[in-house]
Symmetry: C2
Subunit: 208 residues, 2 copies
DNA sequence: TAAAACTGATCAAACGTTTGAATGATAATT
DNA sequence: AATTATCATTCAAACGTTTGATCAGTTTTA
């Protein structure tokens, strides 16, 4: 049975036009080339504003980058809706998988910032990315613990290995897309099949 | 039963000292900061050679980066030993997992180059990284096809989703380490347990 | 002694940031 | 009601620094 969920993920809107334009234009640029791969002139030009506005509003290029990451990861850390749902543990794992797919589809840049910071961390890693990731992993660990105390899950499984396996299955699928597009059909139409597939393998793996 | 394998992975050694020093010094720098995050002066200084040697031997910074990636991914693409082994399909998947873990442990920079190019691709992506990744995925797909024709595996599974799930479980574990070190024990001593764990889940998922 | 390896100095271009002036709207003063 | 002062915002220009690359010259090697 498919769990119907409504994930409300409002987009942050700055009060100021110039400031907003900079963030909106910076997202795809930073996501594609990284912090050091984009120049302030490129950013300002893409936003259609004067380049000094970057320093004025964000204190510099790194400030703009931090603002972009803050906005992007505010979405990732929102797990309350999942946590508070009164469903069984397996369904909670499915909710996480569905939320992840939904977020990556809505925001195609999120995963790039995510993995870019994991591989080439900037100052933002410790302040923004690491806490967000730990939050997600901790939620998954708590869910697994619930499944254990319910005596639904196998008790011979390592909790961290198990939840990272689930997270890995769904995240790696999207991460690999640029390289495997010719080998694998990554069309959004297949998402439902992918989710069922992952949950199928995971369920067989963890159930008693 | 654990499959004992000997993975011979010789390290490329340049005939020239200056050239070799540059590559050796460049690996951790490029891996940590990316192509744009390191300057030629930093590279030359770390290698203990004159700055102009980068252009002399590699035609420029990008040339050195390409040389580093070529060396790194020569290891990743070496799958012949796995392919030619006369073992059943499930054991072949386990060989892949073991080889992956072994390579990431021997070369802690490999995964970083790998994911860095996936998120922020340079000119090397199409020429070096993409072919290497496709090679690995194709090998896994072939192995799955063998398991299907042996009637060992479930025939209702999507082959690509299945092999990407396996690859995701093992790769994501290492990718996430910088963020989850406080939550998850990533010690090499646990690798054997991790491999068994992943193969356990995977086996239950794919077997008839 | 010719070729290869290497050096220090130098180059133009690009970098991120800062400046001081100009703008227009709002608040305070007369 | 008219004038002045203050404010945040925007701009073009220039700042000093760093970038990657080059080149003429020197040393080393064969």
């Amino acid at each position: 049975m498919i769990i119907e969920i409504l994930l409300v993920e409002e987009i942050f809107v700055a009060d100021n036009d110039c400031r907003k334009n900079l963030i909106v234009a910076a997202v795809p640029l930073f996501a594609a080339k990284g912090l050091n791969g984009v120049s302030v002139r490129e950013l300002a030009s893409a936003a259609g504003v004067n380049l000094s506005m970057i320093s004025y509003y964000f204190g510099g290029k790194e400030g703009l980058y931090a603002a972009v990451l803050t906005e992007q990861f505010a979405i990732l850390g929102k797990l309350e809706e999942i946590e508070q749902m009164e469903v069984d543990t397996l369904q909670k794992f499915e909710l996480y998988v569905r939320a992840t797919v939904s977020r990556y589809r809505r925001n195609p840049y999120l995963l790039r910032f995510y993995t870019s910071e994991l591989t080439n961390p900037t100052a933002c890693f410790e302040t923004i990315i690491k806490p967000a990731i730990k939050r997600v992993v901790q939620m998954l660990l708590d869910t697994f613990a619930d499944g254990l105390s319910d005596r639904k899950f196998r008790d011979d499984l390592n909790p961290t290995d198990t939840v990272l396996a689930l997270a890995g299955m769904i995240n790696f699928y999207f991460l690999l897309e640029p390289a495997t597009a010719e080998l694998v059909d990554h069309a959004p139409e297949r998402d439902e099949q992918l989710i069922r597939h992952i949950m199928d393998i995971f369920t067989r793996g963890v159930l008693r």
